[in-house]
């Protein structure tokens, strides 16, 4: 029965090629447009570490000045000061916690054909790797002793290892960063969480850093953040690096891993106690406002999904509605034109159900072909977005979920579009249409 209906549908569609093209084209363009915008929105709002979402917490402390808040809407700083970050690391009140920032160091090699190069380096404690489940190809993270003694060890990301050592196991070899020898202890597998949830201050959809080195090298190498650095407060007594580290400038990302809600509440209490103690020392002039955010809360807090993307999803669904109204109108007109034929078939005994099914198959054909064509258009649309929008390579992509969603959207939309015309047309009393018009 289905095949028979399918054949009837194809025959009917072939009879009116221009109209059929118009209907399929309208569905395809509507689906293509909404698939493009929805795919961008979908991957921008992805949580790359969903499975650990309620264990990882971004920490905010309101260390800002008395007169005006950090953010115009009164929200606390999104990064922490060196003093507070180090104090929280020393206290070690969570099972795991991490303090880190991004810096730049010059890489030099003995290869004569390779120019010196400026690398993005994450300066971090070793818990970074276990907390964020960073996968290793060779070796592993450095140990606690390397953290304590500020040893010159480095973890390379996959791309950098490919570039320097052709992808071979380079553990134990050395590289020169700012003219200091660093021993390689680990090489990562390909790892590119998008959005880059652990540091949303500096390009949320950028690549992770090229290499990682122990945090305590900050003092001996006088490392600065190459990312966002915001300051308030009285000018330091002198311009030394020490007084910069002691200043109220915020430039570090602090995360705590808290496995249960009880642990989270305890940690919040600990933060409040810490800040109250600091208040006694004359710091933290603002009202107590410490916050813990899960990864997904943190992504939302930092508006990772661009507002343009939200607006485009809204507009493209209205656009899809116009395309569907257009198709409903055309299908309806087409079915009504066949009123005579329907009347005749009803008169000779075809039930409403049989006819309804037949017309629904016809609209289904329009929907599926429009949908498939729409996914193709959506895929082309995403290539267009990647070319238009710099830095969108990580998120202007379609995954299987999106392909499924858009196909479903196409079938659902065209079924809905076909439902009304099919229902309308089988309600026609046969007698009228057997008469001459």
């Amino acid at each position: 029965m289905f095949l028979y209906n399918l054949r009837l549908a194809l025959l009917s569609l072939k009879r009116d090629p221009v109209l059929t093209a118009l209907m399929i084209g309208a569905v395809a363009i509507g689906i293509g447009m909404s698939t493009t915008t929805l795919a961008v929105y979908h991957s921008m709002s992805t949580n790359p570490i969903e499975y650990k979402n309620d264990q990882l917490y971004a920490v905010q402390l309101d260390s800002w000045g008395a007169n005006q808040p950090y953010d115009t809407d009164g929200r606390p700083p999104t990064q922490v000061t060196y003093r507070d970050g180090q104090a929280l690391m020393k206290a070690a009140r969570a099972p795991h916690q991490n303090l880190s920032f991004v810096s730049s160091l010059t890489l030099t090699t003995d290869k004569p054909d390779m120019k010196p190069e400026l690398l993005d380096i994450r300066v971090t404690y070793n818990d970074f790797f276990s907390m964020f489940d960073v996968p290793f190809e060779y070796g592993g993270p450095w140990g606690k002793d390397a953290d304590q003694d500020a040893q010159q060890v480095v973890v390379l990301d996959q791309e950098m290892n490919e570039k320097l050592f052709g992808g071979a196991n380079s553990v134990g070899k050395e590289i020169l960063l700012d003219n200091r020898r660093f021993r390689i202890v680990g090489v990562l597998k390909k790892w590119a969480p998008s959005p880059k949830f652990y540091d949303l201050e500096n390009d949320s959809f950028g690549d992770p850093e090229d290499a990682f080195i122990p945090f305590n090298l900050v003092t001996s190498m006088q490392l600065h953040s190459s990312g966002n650095n915001s300051c308030w407060g009285p000018p330091p007594p002198d311009v030394s690096f020490e007084s910069y580290l002691n200043s109220e400038c915020v430039w570090l990302q602090f995360w705590a891993e808290l496995p249960t809600t009880a642990a989270r509440d305890d940690y919040h209490q600990f933060l409040d106690n810490y800040v109250n103690d600091q208040k006694k020392l004359g710091r933290f002039p603002r009202p107590l406002d410490n916050r813990l955010h899960t990864v997904s809360e943190w992504l939302a807090y930092n508006h990772v999904v661009s507002k343009d993307s939200e607006a485009l999803v809204g507009l493209s669904f209205m656009f899809l509605a116009v395309c569907m109204l257009n198709t409903i109108g055309l299908i309806l007109a087409k079915f009504l034109r066949r009123s005579g034929e329907i009347g005749l078939r009803r008169a000779v005994g075809a039930s409403k159900r049989v006819l309804f099914y037949q017309y629904l198959v016809e609209t289904g054909v329009i929907g599926v072909s429009g949908g498939l064509l729409g996914i193709l258009l959506g895929w082309l649309g995403l290539i267009g977005v990647r070319n238009l929008l710099q830095g969108s390579d990580h998120y202007a992509r379609m995954d299987w979920t999106m392909i499924g969603v858009s196909l479903l959207l196409a079938i659902l939309a065209s079924m809905l579009a076909g439902l009304y015309p099919a229902w309308r047309v089988v309600r026609i009393p046969p007698a009228i249409y057997l008469k001459v018009q």
Partner: protein, 401 residues
């Protein structure tokens, strides 16, 4: 024209009319708002930067030799660049204009370590060639002299004593007064204004305060620094090509990290706006096309359905013009219903967009212009089927269809 019979004919086939009217309503809402956003973005991208953006190059240099001497490096590189043919001028610059990243601080008109309200602004550090390199216009006071430029280690930074400011900065800190010769404060550090420049778009084109900028006569020495170069019109790319070799030959212990046209940074900053205008233009074009084709399709159907009626009317004495007028009027009625509803939709959609963005409300004239455009679109779309209807010979009425 008799509207009554047209209306009653339309009421007998409500669905088709309602579908078209709804389509037109949504189209009006989308098109008005899309064009409004496009206009907003294009205006922002096309505004006068006050600088010679098209002819500028940004050179980023980084040190790698242990014996690297930061003191000489900037000066040597600047000398090399200024001596190149096709180069107008070159200056050290801590920030890149229009790049979306830079140095900001805030100022007050009196010394106060904890000011209650202060004016945020963009901060540039350049040498005495800065103004000429940027191509900004000095409207009052004077430029920096060679002796006034301080070369300091970037870890030993203190607020300089002199600055050149933009007019917009002066107007905000000292409303209604002349900024020249006045002193502003960053906390307790006083800075004297020695010159005022006209328009200069700062580092953050998307920040409402983008025009408020100050320039300090300072070169921050360190292992990483940037130089801005301005070339003669049309010679930018040629200079860019030779630059890297020239700087490498100078052997100052540092290397060219990258040398890129300033337009590269500007386009990067604007890439989101550019993408948005392209997407919205595409949406606008496609939706108008689809709506027009929808009108053509449905009008053709209604012509075919009424072939006998049309034939009868013609046989009873109706002229071709009457038939055309019938369909045009019918379409006009539907379009009008659509645009009335669409005006409400347009305002509602704009309300949502205003909530979403910091966008101003849509200007009122977008809606009447949109209404007229859709009237014209509807008219053009229906004209073809209407003319076809008028061509139906009266004899058809006597035949069976």
């Amino acid at each position: 024209m008799e509207i009554r019979p047209i209306l009653s004919a339309m009421l007998r086939n409500k669905t088709g009319a309602i579908l078209i009217a709804l389509q037109i309503a949504l189209t009006l809402a989308i098109v008005c708002n899309a064009v409004f956003i496009i206009h907003d973005r294009i205006t922002q991208m096309a505004r006068n930067s006050g600088m010679d953006v098209e002819n500028m190059i940004v050179v980023s240099m980084s040190a790698y030799k242990p014996e690297y001497n930061a003191d000489n490096a900037v000066k040597t590189d600047l000398d090399v660049l200024r001596g190149m043919p096709g180069v107008v001028d070159a200056s050290y610059s801590q920030s890149i204009p229009l790049s979306g990243g830079g140095w900001s601080d805030s100022a007050t008109d009196h010394a106060d370590p904890h000011p209650k309200a202060s004016t945020p602004m963009g901060v540039f550090h350049m040498d005495e060639h800065g103004l000429n390199t940027l191509g900004v216009k000095l409207v009052e006071g004077r430029d920096f002299s060679h002796e006034e430029v301080g070369y300091i280690d970037q870890d030993k930074y203190t607020t300089p004593k002199l600055a050149i400011v933009t007019k917009a900065f002066g107007e905000k800190v000292w409303p209604g007064q002349d900024a020249l010769g006045k002193t502003f404060y960053e906390g307790t550090d006083g800075v004297t204004v020695i010159g005022v420049v006209d328009t200069m778009e700062g580092s953050w084109p998307h920040w409402p305060g983008f025009e408020r900028n100050i320039i300090f006569p300072t070169v921050l020495e360190g292992s990483y620094f940037r130089i801005l170069v301005r070339t003669l019109p049309g010679q930018r790319d040629a200079v860019l090509k030779q630059m890297e070799q020239k700087l490498t030959d100078a052997h100052t212990g540092n290397f060219v990290l990258h040398a890129r046209p300033l337009t590269y940074y500007r386009d990067h900053t604007n890439s989101g706006d550019h993408a948005m205008t392209v997407m919205l233009s595409l949406v606008t074009a496609l939706i108008l096309g689809i709506t027009a084709l929808g009108i053509v399709g449905l009008a053709s159907f209604s012509v075919r359905q009424r072939t006998r009626q049309i034939g009868t009317r013609r046989a009873l004495g109706a002229k071709r013009g009457d038939i055309v007028r019938y369909f045009v009027t019918e379409n006009w009625l539907i379009t009008t219903m659509g645009v009335v509803l669409g005006s409400v939709f347009a305002v509602a959609l704009n309300y949502w967009l205003v909530q979403l963005y910091d966008l101003p409300h849509i200007a009122w004239y977008y809606i009447p212009v949109g209404i007229v455009s859709l009237w014209v679109l509807g008219l053009l779309a229906v004209l073809g089927p209407a003319l076809k209807a008028a061509a139906i010979p009266p004899a058809i009425a006597t035949r069976n269809v």
